[in-house]
Amino acid sequence: MILDSAAFPSAAVAVGVAVFWMLAAMLSLFESERLRLVNRVLFPAAALAALLLAVVAVRAIAQPAQSLVVPLGLPGLPFHFRLDALAGFFLFLIGIGSAGVSIYAAGYFERETPQRLRLIGLQYHAFLAAMALVVLADDAYLFMLAWESMALASYFLVTTDHRLRAIRSAGFLYLLIAHVGAIALLLCFGILQGGGGLDAYTFEALRGAELTPFWATVAFVLAFAGFGAKAGMLPLHAWLPEAHPAAPSPVSALMSGIMLKTAIYGMVRVIYDLIGDVTWQWGLTVAITGALTALFGVLYALMQHDLKRLLAYHSVENIGIILIGIGLSMVFIATGHPAAGVLGLIAGLYHTLNHAIFKGLLFLGAGSILHATGLRNLNDMGGLIRRMPATAMYFLVGALAISALPPLNGFVSEWLTFQTALQAALLADGVLRSLVPLLAAMLALAGALTAMCFVKVYGIAFLGQPRAPRHAPDASRQRGDAGFHERLGMAWLALWCVVLGVFPSTVVGLLDRVAVSVTGHGLPRAALDSGWLWLVPARPEQASYAPAIFLITILIVFALTFAGVRWIWHGRLRRSAPWDCGFPEQSARMQDTADAFGQPIRWIFGPIYRIRRRVPAPDDAKPRFELEVADRLWHALYLPIARLVDWVCARVSLLQQGRISIYLLYSFVTLIALLLFVR
């Protein structure tokens, strides 16, 4: 096979795919009513290009790194591209994820007007290209260029419905935090470069730069905060639950599924690769932040009744889980246990891939619900499994996967994270050794809460009786199940949920190469030689997991019982009204709502929410129960900062008098001052 040969220009093809997406972005501008160019040609073509990218990327993981220098960019600093194992893994993620989303988008945007489609097509494909370039970039300038293009393209996608005020302000918040993060990254690259010309900004030079421990720590903090802001890490998460739901669903899928992962890529690239020597203090910071982020995300997700907002909070949670894995990996590597450290890194990266797949799938499912019913509020849904059986099936796969249930993919990465935490016995420091299992406990709690949350989502939206929406949606938008393209996109991602869940050792084998290229260490031989069926993190007698046996046994027992019961006894069945303990009156309003389902959580974890409740008095003629759950951090952290900025601005604005003579006076005074003090 030609792709096997080392001479195959993987890096060039990968850059070519990004250029193709850029081209598709330009072509979108020629959209017209007659052509239907974007839907019929560009989205499917982008999906095919994504597949090509995935194939090339997966090959590149096994090959030595390839570099490419393109004479564009700054004079003295041409664009450097590099495709190594880490970049290959993330390009694979982008390829697999965006292939499903693009084909889905071809169906989802079918009814848009050409004017809107032009802009959506432009920004969508530019967004894809920018994400690929972030991963491919091998110098700080190209990286920041791609990073900012990604932020801007996604900003315009978020504000697609910019006529709504709420969406404009969500977009603004996103742009603001994205830029605070970008400034941190810029400073981080500046520190890493540490003096020198423009060519000191290539990653090659940054890798070689020697930093004192102090400056290395400063660079770590800046990179962690900068990438964390993009990833939605606590406490920089506030934009995420606002911006992701505001965007059209395929865009939400891209943002939650893939864009957040570029931040994880950046973190691994800068901290492991560019800064190099990690310390256990950094690792503990990352892991504890991750654990808090995970718990915070899931606890707030349980309070939501807007489906897309709920999914966005789950993205916060999953970023936390990824950070636990990466943080533990840094702790172990820094304390001289590379095998355990590599396991943590693999767990984190595996979860990165898994989250891209299942969160993409879930957002697409939410989009199909929105399309078919016009509903986003869970409290208005119900019984959709009977109206949209295909969407219901794919959504169930996604829901089980995100709930970390075997044998799907979410479980594998959480299992690996647990296995990493269980290596804590290796650690010499007593405090560290007791802290690491506690992180595992928090992960267990977050995982179990996720299962509760998705029982709520699935049970309220798809099961039960249809609830009467309080605001009747537009009748013209009422449709049946998702269309062909939408189903194809969801089926693709659902398939990967199963594949990544049932064949984990193949994926771990690939990730091992990534780990070798990033840290210089790999998993022990015993772990890699165990065959495709068995996933073994260290030694077979220590721990192993075979999801294929899981799946096959459950399916066989299912079939045997199903047939056996009919063969021994009978298969007679009668349909009748529900029993419900004999209560005669049953209406759809007697079912649990999404908020009711979260009530025990509100009761147990009350202090972490900011709850406003209005309970009707016993003698109210028109009783109304009102409940509002808000983000405590928003009020405790963001609003004070906003007020402080307002206050400072008000003081600074005293300088602005709007008269040119006064400005000239300022210039004059400044000049005099400079002449006096600067010699």
Binding site: L463, F558, W569, H570, R575, A577, F583
Partner: protein, 316 residues
């Protein structure tokens, strides 16, 4: 890793667990009846119930989806698999490496999620109530269970249940204080996960307090039979996990057919005592209000974490 004798042993154990699980449930009920000065229905009653249910015509609500009727089979499959993985009679099971303790907890979670979803499927008030409470109990019990198992995993340096049992049963006798904490925590989790008093009451249809029963109200005939059977296997599996972790002596090492009678005898004895103990607990304690369950289970969680920390402290 897999040979034919091993597979035969595997199948024998799976069938043995599935077949004897209702007996344990019957024994617990009988003991409880004796303790409460009733004569009791006899230990074979669960078999009669299952047979009767299988004979009946299944009634399904009009709006039940495929998820509803397939759930009993899925849950039964999960419990069957769990019963095959736990070392009940011997430690050398070819399928045991397929799932370690974390995967086992995941398997129970999978079954729980499906039952809860099925409870929400019909859209009755009780189904939703049961599902919500079940998930509440579940998310509190699952971390506690994992922490308990982690304590044992730290002691034996493995999350593989067979390895844990071998290292606890066949090495020299060492007292692990951490295991005492873990045992108490495990007992509390067992009560909660198997819908026992004081968290839930398996014998009542009192609408304000029921959890598990509320979820399966809409099931009848073969579907109900499979769910009941799966619950019995779950109780059996939990008890054997507890036995494997805390009193593992007597289990056959490897798939040695000669040691089987002794292992069987030891197991029967231990299960009889454990079942009687469970009946005693259920007799002397009263059911909690639903909102006391979090306190109960967070106590279990804290005990398990304490056990783990003590393990690290003592080791130094």
């Amino acid at each position: 890793m897999i040979d034919s004798a091993g597979i035969a042993f595997q199948i024998v154990q799976s069938i043995f667990v599935a077949a004897s699980a209702p007996l344990l449930a019957g024994w617990v009920n009988q003991c409880r009846a004796w303790l409460q000065n009733r004569s009791g229905p006899g230990v074979l009653q669960p078999y009669h119930v299952l047979r009767r249910l299988f004979h009946k015509e299944a009634v399904l609500a009009e709006n039940a989806s495929p998820l509803f009727w397939s759930t009993p089979y899925i849950v039964f499959g999960c419990m069957w698999l769990a019963g095959g993985i736990v070392p009940v009679l011997a430690t050398d099971l070819p399928f045991a490496p397929a799932a370690d303790i974390i995967a086992l907890v995941g398997l129970f979670a999978l079954a729980r999620v499906f039952v809860s979803l099925a409870a929400l499927d019909i859209g009755t008030a009780f189904g939703g109530l049961g599902a919500r409470r079940e998930m509440l109990v579940g998310f509190l019990a699952e971390p506690a269970m994992l922490m308990t198992l982690f304590t044992a995993a730290f002691i034996s340096g493995s999350t593989q249940l067979t390895t844990i049992v071998e290292s606890l049963a066949h090495r020299e006798f060492v007292i692990h204080p951490s295991l005492a904490f873990a045992a108490v925590a495990f007992l509390m989790v067992l009560l909660a996960e198997n819908a026992r008093i004081p968290v839930d009451n398996p014998a009542t249809h009192l609408e304000l307090t029921m959890i598990h029963e509320a979820m399966i109200l809409e099931y009848s005939a073969r579907h109900l039979a499979l769910i009941e059977w799966a619950s019995a296997i779950k109780l059996y599996t939990y008890m054997t996990i507890g036995i494997a972790l805390f009193v593992p002596w007597g289990i056959a090492q490897g798939s040695d057919w000669g040691a089987l009678p002794l292992a069987l005898l030891a197991l029967t004895g231990k299960l009889a005592v454990a079942g009687a103990g469970l009946a005693l607990i259920e007799t002397v304690s009263a059911k909690f209000r639903v909102f006391r369950a979090p306190e109960f289970l967070s106590t279990a969680f804290l005990l398990a974490v304490l056990g783990m920390l003590i393990h690290f402290l003592v080791r130094q």
